[in-house]
């Protein structure tokens, strides 16, 4: 397995892993609830064979979802997500099986947003979103401590400015 690009230096905040676990748990719970409702409806409708089938398939789906979304993905997504602000660009690597390495030159960054949804806020995190003129050319860092994010945004805008002056 030949490596092409080196790993970026920085890791995500460890709290982000917990956020993903909670997200996965919520998704799994919603799925489980859906299965329970379907089984109850089928039982009430006196279709016991169908209820068994749906129940069994649903149970498998819920277990699979729990294993993947609550256990595997949060751990690996966190482990493989790395970023670094280099002299000339923002470098982000992500993905466990389908790996992506993205390099956005500072000079090409158009906007840098800091966002936080309710879940992120509950864990005291924010997300940084970087947009370019290309629809697929932007990137983002999903979970950072606000102080780290502020410093990052500060550095990105400073470097973008420097780069512009030089050009």
């Amino acid at each position: 397995m030949s490596v092409i690009l080196r790993q970026p230096a920085e890791a995500l905040d460890l709290r982000m892993r917990t956020v993903w676990v909670v997200q996965g748990a919520i998704t799994t719970a919603v799925l489980g609830l859906g299965v329970i409702v379907a089984v109850v409806v089928l039982v009430v409708a006196d279709a016991s064979t169908a209820a068994w089938i749906v129940g069994a398939a649903g149970a498998v789906a819920v277990i699979a979802s729990a294993v993947v979304m609550v256990w595997l993905l949060p751990i690996h997504d966190h482990r493989y997500f790395r970023y670094e602000v280099t002299e000339l660009g923002l470098y982000v690597a992500r993905g466990w099986l389908w790996r992506r390495w993205q390099v956005v030159p500072h000079a090409r960054i158009e906007t840098v947003d800091i966002r936080s949804g309710p879940l992120l806020r509950a864990f005291g995190l924010v997300a940084v979103q970087v947009a370019t003129a290309a629809a697929g050319g932007g990137t983002g860092i999903p979970g950072l401590d606000p102080s780290v994010a502020d410093a990052l945004v500060e550095e990105l805008s400073r470097r973008a400015g420097v780069e512009e002056e030089r050009a």
Partner: protein, 476 residues
Amino acid sequence: MSAARLEGRLHPLAVLVLARRMIGASLIPVLALLLSLGTRILVPLVLAVVLVGVPLAVAWWWRFTYRVSESRLEVRSGLINRTTRVVPLDRVRGVDLTAPFLHRLLGLVKVEIEAAAGGGDKAELSLAAVSRRDAEALRERLLSRTDAETIEEEAPTLYRATPGLLAVGGLTSGRYLLATAAVVGVLGNLADNLPGDVVARATDTVADRAPTNASGIVAAVVAAVLAVLLFAVAGSLLVDWGFVLRSEGERLTAERGLLTRRTVSIDLERIRGLDLRDTPLRRPFRLTSVHAVAGGVRRAGGRTTLVPVIRAEGVYALLRAVDPLAPDPAAPLAGHPKAARTRRFVRAVSLPALAAAIALALAAWPAAVLALLLTAGLAVIALDRYRQLGHRFDGRRLTVREGSLMRRWTELDPEEIVSFELRRTPTQRRAGLATLVLHLGEGAGERRVLDAGAEQTRALLAELDPRLLAPLVEPR
């Protein structure tokens, strides 16, 4: 040019164009409806339309004025709600002149002005009909930001299509060959709108006379094939008749069309690279088409088409005229590793092969034959897709090529790349491959170096941007 007006109303004959537009965009269904109603209703209806539509058109014409001043274009319009739109001249991104059939009969041209709005969105202004001379003057004024210096010298022609070349181009173009299906579809739609049982009777007549003997069937098939070919030729000639590409200093201007004549222009500074596209049908004839990879340009209307069809011999000179650093399209590219062939093959063939296996297991013979044929066809395409893969960086321009049924050779300036993205699936990592995606931005899309070897990708990244990317490449 002194008499050309840069302000005032649209051409008086524009009223006809406007009236037609108001009376109905789809005249044919209306006509069909009217025919089935009879004169008792028809006459008052036509009168009403004329009595309401024409005065409306006149009023609209009267209230529509435009003016080009020192630094901006102003358009005032609206019958009751008056609108004034002001576009600073340095915001004008493009001026298209289109002459649909009715316009051409009247010697008029429709002017569409594309402007970049503050947020990067596109704003558009349209002058429904002005005389051709006014339109040309307007276009010249709106586009020449350096004020009248560059004008008046005859713009050199980069390419001129001959009817013969266009005909061959139509015959070898997937789009025009498929156009027959579209035409049949439209006719079918129209037929639905015809009154009474005309269609049913026609179908019956055709069915009655359908040939049953072998020679009759062959004749029918030959006729159908000929019709398809004829449509392809006609389509190409209709759309691209008299295609001329001119270089006007800071921009390229293309003029085309038999019935509807369009003039579109594209700023050289918006061109990030050039595409050559061809199909397996065109490759034996050594024909190709040239397209601009451009940002901030509306896609519609083939405005990025620089040349609809051209012989391979002339391509290099044309590319050089647009981009002086363009590499020779005939130059060999670095191929990608054998593992890329396996990947193309597996991805193309596994699903149909599975379908074939299932069909065989179920003894569903016709389905099995179909699935096997599909598998074989896709396998051939996959192998060709691998053969076409390649890239090359000569220090100034990056060349990439991929595709089989629609092969695309692209040359672009690495300076124009907005962001770089390397992707590797589990299979690619096992096979030592990677896909490098180059995002170009502002609607120019992306180009990719598909399934290059890890070593190739490492070298390419380091060369493409030695300051940005080389420090990130893993040392050997």
